[in-house]
């Protein structure tokens, strides 16, 4: 069954995308990525430690030939910073893709959508494949699409909160209106949350903390892999209608 996700000509094998933060070490990160079956991993851009050259490079563990590297602008609070980090990420030479974050507030890490829209427009014009991390606002999703976003990534709940999809109805509205792929980014807490996102019709989900902060990250990575596949298949199969009263599964004919 050919059900690959294709964005801007890039084919994605898995609909589960993985963040690489908060793991114990690089070795655990790699094992979790492998267990998840993901082929997209998102990474952050930070200063090289110039005094301790023994510190290792993530790309020595996660091979850019094997995985699609999706740099992000996590930690950027202004348009200028987000542009700066994006351009540096591109020059690091592994991808034109950027998971664009312009954060508006430290406690909630909600996006500053006005800045996000400005940055999306500029980067799309510069040829970036822009994946903006946005809120669950259908109007902003449309504006981002119009500004040249390759996909939109609405949050399910605040980053790292594990609260699941707090407004599935808005996500549904975004899905109905969007001509670009929709990926839920942030909020997934456990496997069923990922399944719910996929059952709604989302094209993929991006998960970090739910795996990294699980008691057993590798087992949770495997759980998420199956959850995303299950949700996608259920979406494609089309669920039965909800009814208030029972309908017997067994025939009445032939009863004695």
């Amino acid at each position: 069954m050919d059900d690959a996700l294709v964005i801007k000509g890039i084919e994605f094998k898995s609909r589960l995308w993985i963040g690489t933060g908060k793991y114990k070490d690089f070795a655990e990160t790699v094992k979790a990525v492998e267990a998840s079956g993901a082929d997209v991993v998102t990474v952050s851009v930070r200063r090289v430690n110039i005094t301790d050259r023994k510190s290792e490079n993530l790309l020595d563990y996660i091979d850019p030939k094997k995985y699609k590297i999706l740099p992000n602008t996590a930690g950027c609070y202004t348009v200028d910073d987000a542009l700066r980090y994006s351009r540096l990420a591109r020059e690091a030479g592994v991808s034109d893709m950027i998971k664009l974050e312009v954060i508006g507030d430290e406690r909630t890490l909600f996006p500053d959508t006005i800045g996000l829209l400005q940055a999306t427009e500029i980067l799309a014009k510069e040829g970036f494949i822009v994946f903006p991390y946005t809120n669950d606002d259908p109007i902003m999703a449309r504006r981002l699409e119009d500004a040249g976003a390759a996909a939109v990534m609405p949050l399910g709940a605040p980053i790292g909160s594990g609260l699941g999809l707090r407004n599935p109805y808005n996500i549904k509205i975004i899905l109905e209106a969007s001509k670009v792929p929709v990926l839920v980014d942030a909020g997934v807490g456990t496997a069923s949350d990922a399944t719910i996102a996929m059952e709604l019709g989302c094209d993929a989900v991006l998960i970090n903390t739910a795996i990294a902060a699980a008691k057993d990250p590798l087992t949770m990575a495997a759980a998420m892999k199956h959850a995303v596949i299950a949700g996608r298949l259920a979406y494609k199969a089309g669920r039965m209608g909800r009814k208030l009263y029972a309908t017997s599964s067994s025939p009445l004919e032939g009863m004695i």
Partner: protein, 68 residues
């Protein structure tokens, strides 16, 4: 020559950006570099001469999904 590299004042004998990376034992193919807020292409590392007081930022990828 004194430079500011990743926020730290350093003394260097490096004349070019590539020499600075070599001095710091940093593999050029794994990093991106900005000098005085201008992002450089990797092919220009060898040509880019450094000057007293230049502000250099050398970055690479680290683990991170979303901020926090």
């Amino acid at each position: 020559m004194r430079l500011k590299v990743n926020g730290e004042e350093i003394d260097t004998a490096a004349a070019t950006l590539l020499q600075l990376l070599q001095e710091k034992e940093i593999k050029p193919e794994r990093v991106a570099v900005e000098v005085n807020l201008k992002v450089l292409k990797r092919v220009d590392f060898a040509r880019r001469r450094l000057h007293e007081g230049d502000i250099v930022e050398i970055v690479n990828f680290v683990g991170g999904g979303s901020h926090g």
